[in-house]
Amino acid sequence: MRKQMTEMLKGTLEGIVLAVLSGRSAYGYEITARLREQGFSDLVEGTVYALLVRVEQRGFVDVEKIPSEKGPPRKVYSLNAQGREQLDEFWHSWTFLAERIEQLRLTQTEGDK
């Protein structure tokens, strides 16, 4: 179960993070904390950080360095126009997949009867 969840998350985490950022800008830890609150309890900060690095490299987010009381400045990520486009595409793919998979499940349940 856990392994399967990890595999499924791999393909969707980018969209999930972009969706979190579409509400408002955030820094890495805030994003991780919010997702953990929502039940992604196994999610670690490093995974989210690696993903943020990736979306930054691909130009989906703008990054601003905000000084913090201790340690290095915090990198605050906000979704830009290109990121919004990517997020739209994600929702589109997600809807397609979710509908087809649900259809499969219904067909299977019918067959079980």
Binding site: G46, T47, A50, L51, G71, K75
Partner: protein, 122 residues
């Protein structure tokens, strides 16, 4: 050894300086973050497969940001690397779309299949 290798790769003095500065940031971390960061750095150099200097420098800078933040917040190590550090390091390396040594072989495979396909069409 890695430092000499990177010099031959990057050439540019500015890049070298930046690399050294970021490397020094990793070395200055308090334990256990220093050991974890050093191990990750080694793995990324070894298995990241990245060949262009600019990407390598962006990567080490991000690595330093990550571990300095973790050290400042006192985040437990496992909260950063998760249950499988290898998987984490690889996800991290994959974030960089720089040139990888495997790219040449990938292009070769693609080209070979294209060529074979043309033969098929005849």
């Amino acid at each position: 050894m890695v430092a000499r290798w990177i010099e031959s790769l990057t050439g540019a003095l500015e890049q070298k300086k930046e690399y050294r500065r970021d490397k020094a940031r990793l070395d200055a971390l308090p334990e256990p973050y220093r050991s974890a960061a050093a191990a990750m750095h080694r793995y990324l150099n070894y298995c990241g497969g990245i060949v262009d200097g600019e990407t390598l420098i962006a990567m080490i800078g991000d690595l330093a940001d990550l571990w300095e933040r973790a050290a400042a917040d006192g985040t437990p190590l496992r909260e950063i690397v998760g249950a499988d550090p290898v998987e984490f390091a690889e996800a991290f390396a994959q974030a960089y779309e720089g040139q990888h040594w495997i790219d040449k072989e990938r292009a070769r495979l693609t080209e070979a299949i294209d060529r074979a396909e043309r033969e098929e069409g005849k």
